[in-house]
Symmetry: C2
Subunit: 347 residues, 2 copies
DNA sequence: ACTGGCGCTCGCATCCCGGGAGTGCTGGAG
DNA sequence: CTCCAGCACTCCCGGGATGCGAGCGCCAGT
């Protein structure tokens, strides 16, 4: 019995080094890497022929594959996975870049903040940036009823996290301004800080003490609140999809490209994927179809959750081709998530 | 002297009919139209040979052109122009479709309304829908200061048209709730209905009668108001760009397609184009490069202004390939503009 | 264990070639 | 004068055929 085969463990050092340089070369060039190229760039002093043996092993184990008989090798999804898990060396962003990034975030408004974060991600990576809008903390803070016309009232609702929703209500009765302020004051003074469910429960009791029409008004407000919380709850903001048109890896297959962009419009399934990431902590990477969505076969998604007051409330990420410069994208996503967290926390 | 050449006026009746059917065929098929096809579909009982003579004339006058020697003819930009100006017969939408369209508009909110209008346009035409957000009437209606923390105040501003802006202000001093309501009341009671410029002028006089800190607060509100009016003034909402990926007229030239999508992201130049249309009244059509933007040379833009209370405040439109079914798109854009107008007016 | 060499397999670019579609022109018929 | 059939011509397009280059696997030799 041979005490050891020539591939004792999953991967010996030499194979790892070669896999690493192969992936790096391929990411840089975009073209299948041959044995000669590898022998030049690996640093090891080996002839192409020897390298070919290792490559054959790597192929057998499913880390690399050749598009056709006489092309070089290309990393498979599994190859990329191993690469990012154990071979990759990320270089953190330097201070200047971080400041630059921070400067691009527009902090005056949650919506703007999220939009600018998404935009920054796409600008820096030249791929598509995605941000899942922060989950509402779903508390009630303040309400205002404003009379627009006899039977149309502008409802302004401020949630606990300081976001403002507005909505126009059509009523059956024409309320006077004093009725409106009365109703608003009642809600503001008694229920600030409660969740809408709480309010609904507690209000049942007090409801009969109020004049009927005012009660009706407040019911409308509650409904709007529920709707605002549930519907506005989670959405995903995408920026720079255009960048993906320039990526030749993707734009070769027109059909695939269409599918991809359709995925972006459908939002929901993308949201599902991004929500997965918010359970983990730190940067997470989905390579190729790992996410379970076909349109993404040739894409990778790099995500990181962000938090406010220590609780995860959303996810930022980048969608690009599988062949992306992970060592750059990963820290960018990481930092953006952290900046977004701190910007949201100190509001 | 010959009293008349064989093309007496710009176009005789026969030439017009042939041009019309040629454009219609081309719009339907997408393939260059030959003389034989024309002789079959024109309704005239003419042989291909005779038709060829007319086609030669049409080509000489620049209405049609042939991609290469032995293909049929395709309409030029000028051909399309003549077609839509004098040859086109639009069939108005039937009642059912209008109701359907109206049902898709979400009326509870200006932003939603605009977004849904854009979406509807793209759905119905299978091209890209664009809507320029309504110009602010720039009046002040109501303001609210809400204390978030010691030195951070949520400013809620309602403009005359019932839209709500919100913004977080960082102040040097920590205001008490009563100071905040005082300032808000002062503004609400004295200046409702004024433009921000007016307020600024009139407040100069009264400013010294107020406590300094309160004055500072109101100055912040005014600045926010100005900014809201000017910045939020006009933006363009685009939907269904994805649809354009499927159009083979466009997706053949990958480079052009990129340019087009970049145009969509840059917004500003698109906005300029759409603003032109808001000066005219009724549906307006820009064919090919008529708009002066190269990325659009193979596109047409069909626009119509919409109004609130009889004043034009924005534009809706569709961007698609030059080869589009104008007789369908035109009424769709027209009706959408009208529905949007009435939805905004009765708010 | 490593390497040089050999034969082999593909992809890709090029060229060639025939079929098809459509045109312009011309001469003749109504 | 109008129309039309016929003809020669041009051009696109698709399908082989061919040559080249890149890369691989294998093997024998060090």
């Amino acid at each position: 019995m041979s005490h050891e085969h020539h591939t004792p463990n999953p991967l010996n050092d030499r194979a790892q080094l070669l896999l690493k340089t192969l992936v790096e070369r391929y990411i840089a060039d975009g073209q299948p890497v041959g044995s000669r190229a590898l022998s030049k760039f690996s640093g090891l002093d080996l002839s192409p022929a020897s390298i070919r043996n290792v490559m054959a092993d790597l192929e057998e184990m499913g880390f690399i594959a050749s598009p056709h008989t006489s092309a070089g090798r290309v990393p498979t999804a599994r190859g990329y996975r191993f690469f990012v898990d154990t071979l990759l060396t990320v270089k953190p962003l330097d201070r200047v870049e971080i400041n630059q990034l921070e400067g691009q975030l527009q902090v005056d408004n949650t919506q703007k903040l999220v939009a600018s974060a998404s935009h920054v991600l796409s600008e820096l990576t030249h791929f598509a940036g995605v941000v899942v809008t922060p989950r509402r903390s779903s508390g009630f803070r303040h309400v205002e009823f404003l009379r627009l016309a006899d039977k149309r009232i502008l409802l302004i609702l401020v949630t606990a996290d300081g976001d403002v929703q507005n909505r126009i209500i059509h009523t059956e009765k024409a309320y006077s301004p004093s009725e409106l302020t009365e109703a608003a004051n009642f809600l503001n003074q008694n229920f600030a800080g409660c969740t809408f469910d709480e309010i609904r429960r507690r209000i049942q009791a007090e409801l009969r003490q109020l004049r009927e029409d005012v009660a009706q008004l407040m019911a409308a407000a509650l409904n709007a609140g529920d709707q605002a919380v549930s519907e506005g709850a989670e959405d995903v903001v995408i920026s720079g999809e255009v960048n993906l048109l320039g990526i030749d890896d993707l734009s070769s297959n027109m059909g695939k490209l269409r599918d991809l962009f359709n995925l972006f419009e459908r939002r929901t399934s993308l949201l599902q994927l991004l929500d997965q990431s918010s359970r983990a902590q730190g940067v997470q990477i989905f390579i190729g179809g790992e996410a379970g969505l076909q349109p993404l076969d040739e894409c990778s998604v790099v995500t990181a959750p962000y938090e406010v007051d220590g609780k995860v409330v959303g996810t930022v990420g980048v969608i690009g081709p599988t062949r992306m410069a992970y060592e750059r994208v990963i820290p960018i996503v990481d930092i953006t998530a952290k900046l977004l967290s701190s910007a949201l926390t100190q509001r």
